[in-house]
Symmetry: C2
Subunit: 324 residues, 2 copies
């Protein structure tokens, strides 16, 4: 069996050799750029890791693995336009560097490229993999739309928030594991259990993101602490705070959100004080751990010999204990 790190290296090797047309360069340069500026290659490595539970010839699953990484990066590229983000992984975003039109079109080409890679898998697996992929890809769009809808709302419930991150983040991680399993001829039950592992892990992962943004160590986290608070982003912490606060605290929180004169530092400090008073950080940790536990339970309930699960378990543990 391969370590997660080794799987990441295999993915990187193939990504570096990804065949892309050269002309017109305005279309293909941005695709090469966003794939080259990196990322942890978590999704494609999870495809290979799931495959590796059943079969050692992980290169057999490289085409759908690459498809999922290309698709993921396509969503980042278009999300960055919608969010008007200037930076991605500390580099200029594609629309900043080349303009919006190029970013829209090269994103479109990227999503087609993802399907081209999927089309390379053996015919026997294609219908099932394509179906799982399509359902998920639409869900990711739905999640992004919900996220945008939440910007204009003050009454987002915790459940709505969880549903949004399930769609926007978790289903893609889940389907990576499922597709890896399908490619290895795993049973439907095992493929579904690995999907559930990914889904719950994805939820826990996003909650950890929310936590780190508010409570991370600035030196380790790599970006400014409190970014979500400053942007009034609907996170687990904020939606939970609204759900648990009394009237007085609710009003304080609303005032802080609508106060456009308050300094960033002060706003972060005051919102954090309310979070601490309401214990939403602890409630987040509880919720996160509950998803993490469900993930591990799903992983352990497959027909795979238990000692083979350590790669995915180790990966899950690292995700939970990460500080950046």
């Amino acid at each position: 069996m391969y370590t997660f790190k080794k799987l990441q290296q295999i993915v990187d090797k193939h990504l570096n050799n990804l065949e892309l047309n050269n002309e017109p360069s305005e279309l293909y340069e941005p695709i090469k750029y966003i794939l080259e500026i990196g990322g942890k290659r978590i999704r494609p490595s999870l495809v290979l890791a799931a495959y590796n539970l059943f079969n050692d010839e992980v290169e057999n699953a490289i085409q759908p693995a690459l498809a999922l990484e290309v698709f993921h990066n396509f969503t980042l590229l278009h999300d960055d336009i919608m969010d008007k983000a200037d930076l991605r992984r500390n580099q200029q975003t594609v629309h900043k560097k080349w303009g919006e039109n190029v970013a829209i079109l090269s994103g479109d080409a990227m999503s087609i490229k993802a399907y081209e890679l999927l089309g390379n898998i053996p015919e026997e697996f294609l219908p099932e993999v394509l179906k799982a992929f399509n359902i998920t890809a639409l869900q990711v769009c739905e999640g992004q739309q919900l996220d945008m809808n939440f910007e204009g709302r003050m009454d987002v419930s915790v459940n709505e928030y969880i549903e949004m991150i399930r769609l926007k983040t978790s289903v893609l991680i889940a389907v990576c594991l499922k597709i890896g399993a399908i490619m290895a001829n795993a049973t439907k039950t095992d493929a579904q259990k690995l999907y559930d592992f990914g889904l719950n892990l994805g939820l826990a992962f996003q909650l950890q993101d929310d936590y780190l943004d508010a409570y991370g160590d600035v030196h380790v986290f790599g970006k400014k602490i409190g970014g979500d608070i400053v942007a009034n982003k609907k996170t687990f912490l904020l939606t939970k705070a609204f759900e648990t606060a009394d009237e007085k605290t609710t009003n304080e929180l609303k005032n802080l959100i609508s106060d456009t004169d308050i300094g960033e530092e002060q706003k972060i400090k005051d919102v954090l004080a309310i979070y601490n008073q309401l214990n939403v950080d602890k409630l987040l940790k509880e919720c996160m751990e509950s998803y993490y536990d469900k993930a591990i339970q799903a992983l352990e309930s497959t027909s795979v010999e238990h000692d083979k699960n350590y790669i995915l378990k180790e990966f899950a543990g690292k995700l939970m204990n990460r500080e950046s």
Copy 2:
């Protein structure tokens, strides 16, 4: 065999019943909207017409037919953002009505929906159809990128222009016929010949578009005559004019293009005078007819009994003789 009109009706019936999620409505309403504002359903009807050359059960090819119509409308939706177009088929464009972010994301969801429809075809045809579709879809993006690149250039050759419309318009029409043939279990040779029919017809169709924009009857054409001239759009007429003009006329044309003070009417009149002097309208007609002839030759060279070709021949003839 079905008339082209009947095939269009079959397509419309299925498009009206297309299954789409309802929530989030911000994502799915724009998709329903752009599919409802119409169009002639040429591409999906061509899928069915090609299928119908070999088999009367045209509903068997409805899934890829719908996929191609949804994909085509996705490209229109995103192209309209890039072109900053306010109107499409005399209705507000999606980005005008709902904003750019919604237009980007609902377009993305539409392209995935196209693949979902493709995924519904029988397993035996899926790999080949998916492959043909993916190659074409990437070419369409390349064509759109070339079209955008041409905006900033004065030295676009006729050959470059033809290559651009081949990619942006013709390959999609061509692949409709090819996919219809594949679905009917046609031989590779017949599928390729039908592809060639569509490719050449698509080129002739776009050249007719260029002609009508400059020489159409305003009462029949349905939009303002000379729009391409006013916008300095690189068309067959303009690129051919530059290729055939002497130095003096070239300079006159360049001056007209860069003249921002000239009135629209005057500009159209002066450019048309140059076109007429250079006979580029006749050169266009010759080029168009040559593509049309190639299309008909390809159609007649398939193994299909010749009297079955009349539906596609009639359709091709109408495209060539249309005035709008």
